[in-house]
C-alpha cells in the first residue's frame, strides 16, 4: 500500500532571540497509510504539537525546519510554495486544535465560520455553500444543526465547539486529519463522545487520522499504530496492541506503568500510589551524545550515554530505539 503521508528525517528547532538553538524534533520519520489512524504519544515538551504544526507548515516565526521531507499526496510540503500550502491546508489536510474555545472567532456565527472554510477552497455559490454547511453540521450535530449554525461560539459548550472544529476540518473532504490533543480540555464523557465521532467519521469518509495525545488509554481501540515521542525523537513505533500492551522501550514501559488503573480494576490496586517516571525530561538546548532517556532509564547501560541508539526492528511493523535490542 502506498503511504498517504511520509515524513523522513524531520528536524525542527526553535531559535531564541539571542540565536540559541533548541531542537524540538530530531530525525522524526514515519508514514501514514490511507485510512489509517496513527496515534502520537508523548509528554509535554516531547515535540508532539511541534510535529502537528510542522506537518502543515504553520510553525511560529521562531521555529525552523532544518531538514527532512514531508511527502503528502505526491508533493513535498517542505518545498511547496505558500499558495500551494494554502490549497493543501483545509482542503487535503484538516486540522483540529486542542483549545476549541480559542480556535473559533468569537464574533462570527458558527455557520459563517464553517462556510468560510468552503469559500476558501471551492468556487461554489453562496446558496450552495449554505446547503453544504448545514449538511456538514448535521454530520457532527445530527439533532440541531441549524440552531448551532445560528449560534456564536460562546453559546456552545466545549464539546460542541470541538464538534464545530471537526466539521471545519472535514468540510472540504480531506484525506488526512491532524488532531492535536482534541480532547485535552474536555471532561471524560465528552472526550469519549468526540473520540466516537472521530471513529464514525473515519469510517464514513475513509479518513487517515493523526491523533496526538499524552494519554495512552485514548489511543487504545482507536489508533491502528502508535508512535511514541520522547524529547523530540521517535523511541518506539508499532501496532497499538504491541506498543501499549507489551511496550519494549524502557520509556514506553515506564509510561504505561504510570497510567492510573481503570475503575474496573480491583480496589486494592487503586489504593497504591501512582507510579511516576523519576527525573525530568532533558533540556534539549544542551547538546547530548547519548540516548535522551538515559538519565531516567532503569535499564541503562554504559554505551547509552555515549552514542544514540539506532532504531531496531522488532518485527516488520514494530521498531524500538534502544540498545537493549539488536546486535
Amino acid at each position: 500500500m502506498i503511504s498517504l503521508l511520509q515524513v523522513q528525517d524531520l528536524h525542527v528547532a526553535y531559535i531564541s532571540g539571542a540565536g540559541k538553538v533548541s531542537p524540538a524534533l530530531e530525525g522524526v520519520s514515519f508514514d501514514v497509510l490511507p485510512g489509517e489512524t496513527l496515534g502520537v504519544l508523548g509528554e509535554s515538551g516531547s515535540g508532539k504539537s511541534t510535529l502537528a504544526l510542522a506537518l502543515v507548515r504553520l510553525l511560529p516565526g521562531n521555529a525552523e525546519i532544518q531538514k527532512g521531507a514531508i511527502q503528502f499526496e505526491g508533493q513535498d510540503l517542505l518545498r511547496a510554495r505558500p499558495r500551494a500550502l494554502e490549497r493543501v491546508r483545509g482542503a487535503r489536510i484538516g486540522l483540529v486544535f486542542q483549545e476549541p474555545s480559542l480556535a473559533l472567532h468569537p464574533t462570527i456565527r458558527i455557520g459563517k465560520q464553517v462556510s468560510d472554510v468552503l469559500a476558501a477552497h471551492e468556487a461554489a455559490s453562496r446558496a450552495a455553500r449554505h446547503q453544504k454547511t448545514l449538511q456538514l453540521l448535521r454530520e457532527v450535530f445530527p439533532a440541531d444543526a441549524s440552531r448551532i449554525a445560528d449560534s456564536y461560539p460562546h453559546q456552545l459548550s466545549g464539546g460542541q465547539q470541538q464538534r464545530v472544529l471537526i466539521a471545519q476540518a472535514i468540510a472540504c473532504g480531506p484525506s488526512l486529519i491532524i488532531a492535536d490533543e482534541p480532547t485535552a480540555s474536555l471532561d471524560p464523557t465528552t472526550q469519549q463522545e468526540i473520540l466516537e465521532l472521530f471513529r464514525m467519521l473515519r469510517e464514513k469518509f475513509n479518513l487517515s487520522l493523526i491523533l496526538i495525545t499524552h494519554n495512552p488509554p485514548l489511543l487504545a481501540g482507536l489508533a491502528d499504530r502508535v508512535l511514541v515521542l520522547y524529547a523530540g525523537k521517535v523511541v518506539e513505533i508499532g501496532p497499538t496492541e504491541q506498543v501499549l500492551g507489551s511496550p519494549q522501550h524502557p520509556y514506553t514501559h515506564a509510561l504505561m506503568q504510570s497510567v492510573p488503573p481503570g475503575l474496573d480494576e480491583p480496589a486494592k490496586d487503586r489504593k497504591s500510589r501512582l507510579r511516576v517516571i523519576p527525573g525530568e525530561a532533558p533540556n534539549l538546548a544542551v547538546l547530548m551524545n547519548g540516548c535522551r532517556f538515559e538519565s531516567r532509564c532503569t535499564d541503562r547501560m554504559e554505551q547509552c550515554a555515549e552514542r544514540e541508539p539506532p532504531a531496531v526492528a522488532m518485527s516488520e511493523v514494530h521498531a524500538v530505539s534502544c540498545f537493549k535490542y539488536g546486535e
Binding site: V56, L58, G61, E86, R87, V88, R89, G90, A91, G94, L95, F97, E99, L102, A103, L104, H105, P106, T107, I108, R109, I110, G111, K112, S115, D116, V117, A120, H121, H130, S146, A149, D150, Y152, L165, Q168, A169, A171, C172
Partner: protein, 351 residues
C-alpha cells in the same frame, strides 16, 4: 423618544453641528465675501422685542446703526428706524451642500443688513464668515484625519502583519515622525510648496501637509492591535483551514482595529482643524477672500483689532462645541471599545 446611549449621543451632537456648518448658506444671512464699506467693525447688533416706547412686538426687530457724531468707528442705534427681522427670506444665491442652487435664508432683513455677530474691516458679516469658514476648517480637518488614518492604518497593519525587519524599519520611521516638531515641519513643507496658489489648490495642499505628518501615532496603535490579533489561536486555526492573508486581514485582523481607528479619528479631527487654523492664522492657508476659522482670526494679529473689537475673537469660540463633541465622542468610544456589539440581521439565516 429614541433612547441613545454613550457615543451615539455624542455622534448625534456632532452630526447636528456639522449639519449647520454644511448648510452654511441657509443659516448665514449673507454671502461671506459680500462687503458693506459703510459698516466696518460694526459690533454685534441687539435684537429687540420691546421698542423705545415700551411697546411689545411679536416679531423681533433691530435698529439701524449709524456712526456716532464725531467718531469714525463708534456706532449707535438709530431709534427711529426699527427694522423687523424676517425669517425664510430670499437673498443671495448659494448652493446648498455645493449642489442645489437656493436663495432662501433662515433669516434676514429687508431695509438693512443685520449683523448678529458684528462685521469685519470690510463690513462683511461675521456670522456668515464663521459659518462658511467652518466648512473649510472642518473639511480640512476631516480630510486630513482621513488621510492620516489611511496612511497610519496601511503602515501600521503592514508593520504588524509582516513583522521582522520591515516592522522595525517602519516603526523607526514612525518614531522619527513623532519626534519631529510638527508645526515647524508644517512650515517647512508649506514653504517648500508654491506660495501663491488658488484657494482650491491651497486647500488641498493644507490637507496633504497636515495629513502627511500625523500618521505615526495611529500607525503605532494599529500595529500593536494587529500584532496581538495575528497571534490569536483563531487566526492560526483559520490558517489551518487554508485561509489566505487577505482573508485573515479582512475578516480577523482589521476588524479588531476598528475601535482604535474610530477613537483616533475622533481625536485627530479636532487636532487637524487646529492645525489648519494655525496655518491659516499665519497666512499659509486658504487665501482671502475665502474665509476659514484660522484666517478669520488672523485679523487679531493687528494690535488695534486685538484690543478694540472683541467680536473678532468669536471664530475661536466657534470651535469649542466642535472640540467638546469630538473629545466626548472619543472618550465614549474608548469606554465602549471593550463591549463588542453583536449585530443581528433581520430575516433569513443570520450568517
Amino acid at each position: 423618544m429614541i433612547q441613545l446611549s454613550g457615543w451615539k449621543r455624542w455622534l448625534l451632537a456632532i452630526v447636528v453641528l456639522h449639519g449647520i456648518v454644511a448648510c452654511a448658506g441657509f443659516f448665514a444671512p449673507y454671502d461671506p465675501t459680500e462687503q458693506d464699506r459703510e459698516h466696518p467693525y460694526l459690533p454685534p447688533m441687539r435684537i429687540h422685542l420691546v421698542d423705545t416706547q415700551g411697546h411689545f412686538h411679536f416679531r423681533p426687530f433691530f435698529y439701524a446703526e449709524q456712526l456716532r457724531v464725531g467718531s469714525f468707528d463708534q456706532f449707535e442705534e438709530h431709534s427711529q428706524q426699527a427694522i423687523p427681522l424676517r425669517f425664510f427670506v430670499t437673498g443671495a444665491r448659494y448652493d446648498l451642500l455645493g449642489l442645489l442652487p437656493f436663495r432662501t435664508h433662515l433669516f434676514g432683513a429687508e431695509a438693512s443688513r443685520v449683523y448678529l455677530l458684528g462685521s469685519d474691516a470690510y463690513g462683511r458679516d461675521q456670522l456668515s464668515r464663521i459659518l462658511y469658514g467652518g466648512q473649510i476648517s472642518l473639511l480640512a480637518g476631516m480630510l486630513g484625519a482621513g488621510l492620516t488614518l489611511l496612511i497610519g492604518v496601511l503602515i501600521g497593519a503592514t508593520a504588524g502583519y509582516l513583522g521582522g525587519w520591515r516592522d522595525g524599519l517602519l516603526m523607526r520611521v514612525a518614531e522619527l515622525f513623532m519626534a519631529l516638531p510638527w508645526l515647524y515641519l508644517l512650515f517647512a513643507l508649506r514653504a517648500f510648496l508654491p506660495l501663491s496658489v488658488s484657494p482650491v489648490q491651497a486647500f488641498f495642499l493644507i490637507i496633504l501637509v497636515i495629513g502627511a505628518v500625523g500618521w505615526a501615532r495611529p500607525a503605532r496603535l494599529v500595529r500593536g492591535v494587529v500584532l496581538s490579533a495575528r497571534e490569536r489561536d483563531f487566526v492560526r486555526a483559520a490558517r489551518g483551514f487554508g485561509a489566505t492573508d487577505s482573508y485573515l486581514l479582512r475578516r480577523h485582523i482589521l476588524p479588531e482595529t476598528s475601535s482604535v481607528i474610530l477613537t483616533q479619528a475622533a481625536i485627530l479631527v479636532p487636532q487637524f482643524v487646529l492645525a489648519e487654523m494655525t496655518l491659516s492664522f499665519l497666512g499659509l492657508g486658504v487665501p482671502e477672500p475665502v474665509p476659514s476659522w484660522g484666517s478669520l482670526l488672523a485679523s487679531l494679529q493687528q494690535y488695534s483689532v486685538l484690543v478694540s473689537y472683541w467680536w473678532m475673537y468669536l471664530p475661536a469660540l466657534a470651535i469649542v462645541p466642535f472640540f467638546l463633541g469630538y473629545l466626548g465622542l472619543a472618550s465614549a468610544l474608548q469606554q465602549d471599545a471593550g463591549t463588542e456589539k453583536i449585530v443581528r440581521t433581520a430575516g433569513g439565516s443570520r450568517w
